[in-house]
């Protein structure tokens, strides 16, 4: 197990390095960042001075080295816009994003998995068909449009939900959480719902397919031959076998949700790092974009690793090499 972990850690580092090269390279090969930092009426001489000060006249390879060594020390550059370290900006907003994403994940899991199990176990019932139609809608909806519609209906027309922003926050072990207040819950519901719907739909289908496939296995028929009732077979055997791959996929979807959070945060003006990214894109605030991508890459790589480890622990067939 130790060896496996070390191998994976090594691989993770390589992946991050590759990503850093790609991000750095692409970001710096397109356009000239100097022009964004100097006032529009700067002379060529002033531009040259600025370029030198920022180290932008060095060969790309050296710039990359500086970038990497800075990054390892926690310095991901300074935001053009805010004049503050990019990393700080992102870390400040990370709890908001994580809070919404995790809330959405839990919402999705709690609603979707039971529905999916039902649809898989009783595929011919009317309720199952309703569930599947709903899930079809869920995966076909553009999530941003759903968000917009929710705001239109609940905030503007019916006026029962706040249309944007994060609600009241309370501090919980040093982190600001909004779900612990009623106002906070009101604010987080629609963004989380928007984020969750696509995942819910996917999860319902995945669970249903998993259950249906498992129910066709020999050991299920054998269980019936032992005298088990259909319900016991479902909960005692089929469920565990079907859910393990489902949960794995769901864990990996966390990364997807962080990506989609960028849109949700933009629509709902949720102060998370996704909104920061989009704003930075509009303002061409390169350091922030780069810092976000690196941080998020690290997050994904770690999540994938954790999910793999958990999977090897749950499934007794897998022996770690």
């Amino acid at each position: 197990m130790l060896q496996y972990t070390l191998t994976r850690l090594g691989q993770m580092v390589i992946v991050l390095l590759v990503v850093s090269v790609i991000v750095f390279g692409v970001m710096n090969l397109t356009g000239d960042p100097v022009l964004l930092l100097v006032p529009p009426e700067a002379t060529d001489a002033e531009i040259a001075v600025a370029r030198e000060q920022l180290g932008l006249n060095l060969p790309l390879w050296e710039q990359y080295q500086i970038f990497i060594s800075n990054a390892i020390h926690g310095n991901m550059g300074v935001s053009y816009m805010f004049k503050r370290p990019a990393l700080d900006l992102i870390l400040e907003r990370m709890p908001a994003t994580l809070e919404m994403t995790i809330f959405a994940m839990i919402m999705a899991g709690v609603i979707a998995i039971p529905l999916g199990v039902y649809a898989g176990a009783y595929p011919d019932k009317m309720m199952s068909k309703v569930i599947m139609s709903a899930s079809l809608l869920g995966i076909s909806l553009p999530s941003f449009w759903l968000g917009i519609m929710l705001i239109l209906v609940f905030a503007v027309e019916l006026n029962i939900m706040p249309s944007s922003g994060r609600g009241e926050v309370t501090s919980f072990w040093g982190i600001n959480l909004s779900i612990l207040t009623v106002d906070g819950l009101q604010h987080i519901t629609m963004p989380a719902l928007t984020l969750a719907v696509g995942q819910m739909a996917m999860l319902i289908r995945l669970t249903r397919a998993g259950i249906m496939e498992v129910m066709r296995q020999d050991y299920i028929k054998f269980a019936k031959a032992k005298g088990m009732s259909a319900q016991r077979v479902l909960f005692g055997h089929a469920l565990k076998n079907a859910l393990i791959p489902v949960i794995t996929v769901f864990g990996l979807q966390f990364g997807q949700m962080i990506a989609f959070a960028t849109i949700t945060e933009t629509i709902f003006a949720w102060p998370g790092m996704g909104k920061l990214l989009i704003d930075s894109i509009y303002r061409v605030d390169r350091p922030v974009i780069v810092a976000y991508l690196m941080l998020v890459a690290m997050l994904f790589v770690v999540i994938n690793f954790l999910v793999d480890v958990i999977y090897t622990l749950i499934d007794p067939r897998i022996e770690v090499k």
Binding site: V15, V18, V23, V26, M27, T30, L136, L137, I139, S140, L141, P142, S143, F144, W145, I148, M149, I151, L152, V156, S163, M212, E213, R216, L252, G255, Q256, I258, A259, F260, T262, I263, T266, I267, I278, I281, Y282, I289, L293, V296, A297, F300, V301, N304
Partner: protein, 294 residues
């Protein structure tokens, strides 16, 4: 021969199931309608939204015909006086173009790489799969976003970005199938007959691994349409001069809360319908072509 093929197709269980499956037929019908719109729409739209001379700012933000009474603009107009219906027809065109092309390119590239990886094995396989695995750990949307941010807006760039994101799924699937087929006897037989590798890969193995690709491809079109819409909404997708449905939605979003609802709602519904169409068809194909559910 052709007669036989047609007979086999229309007499098959699959086609029978299709005819009896109202949802699948609906999906196919929707897609067909949109394809028609994409091809022939511009010929029948009341207005050419790209022709600046036809636009009159006095027409901006007119509501749909049942509110405004102006029958020139059936579904209303946007902020520049552009007829929404015409804009939507062109938008459908662009969405379909991006979705279908990106899917086709991803499929071709992914299949080729997957075949090579699965058949050759060794370091080629390792390299290709490594890249695929690494890429898969990142959400496609983010990768596409990054590429579009770096290289700017544009339909061709969009298609390239989506292709770069999409090839992985096909490569993995085809590689898996190829690995399974490689050990079968007909491959040995072909080798013994002296066929070169690429012939074996493309003429012998490929037809046997196509089935899941059809399902993936169908659904991928819908996914790409959504991704394009999202990217365009964020302002990093199609250029302003060639509005897709996503861009129309973005424009509408800005004025939505002032009561000008139609600019957002109609493109949104259209987008929804398009993707529902691909998903319905994809679902049906998946259930039909999956041997394990028989």
């Amino acid at each position: 021969m052709k007669q036989q093929l047609l007979q086999a197709f229309f007499g098959s269980e699959g086609y029978h199931n299709f005819r009896h499956n109202r949802l699948a037929m609906m999906g196919a019908a929707i897609l067909f309608l949109f394809l028609l719109t994409a091809f022939f729409g511009p010929l029948i739209t009341p207005q050419d939204p790209y022709n600046l001379k036809e636009l009159d700012l006095n027409n901006s933000f007119k509501p749909p015909v049942w509110e405004s009474g102006d029958s020139r603009f059936l579904l209303g107009t946007d902020q520049q006086g552009r007829d929404l219906l015409s804009g939507m027809v062109y938008g459908v065109r662009i969405s379909m173009l991006v979705g279908v092309l990106a899917t086709v390119y991803s499929l071709v590239i992914g299949t080729i790489l997957g075949l090579i990886a699965g058949y050759r094995g060794g370091w080629v396989d390792s390299v290709i799969m490594r890249i695929a695995d690494v890429q898969l750990s990142f959400p496609g949307m983010l990768i596409a976003l990054f590429i579009m941010v770096a290289f700017g807006r544009g339909i061709d760039k969009l298609i390239i970005a989506l292709t770069l994101v999409g090839w992985v799924t096909y490569a993995r699937t085809v590689r898996g199938s190829t690995l399974a087929e490689r050990n079968k006897e007909y491959v040995d037989a072909a080798r013994v007959c002296g066929f070169p590798s690429w012939v074996i890969m493309f003429r012998h193995i490929l037809p046997n691994v196509l089935t899941p690709l059809i399902v993936i491809g169908t659904i991928q079109v819908g996914n790409f349409i959504l991704t394009e819409a999202t990217l365009s909404f964020l302002g990093v997708g199609v250029p302003i001069s060639q509005p897709s449905l996503g861009l129309l939605l973005a424009n509408g979003y800005q004025v939505l809360f002032s009561g000008l609802w139609w600019v957002s709602i109609f493109p949104g519904i259209t987008l929804l319908l398009m993707v529902i169409g691909t998903n319905l068809l994809g679902d049906f194909l998946r259930d039909e072509l999956n041997p394990r559910l028989k």
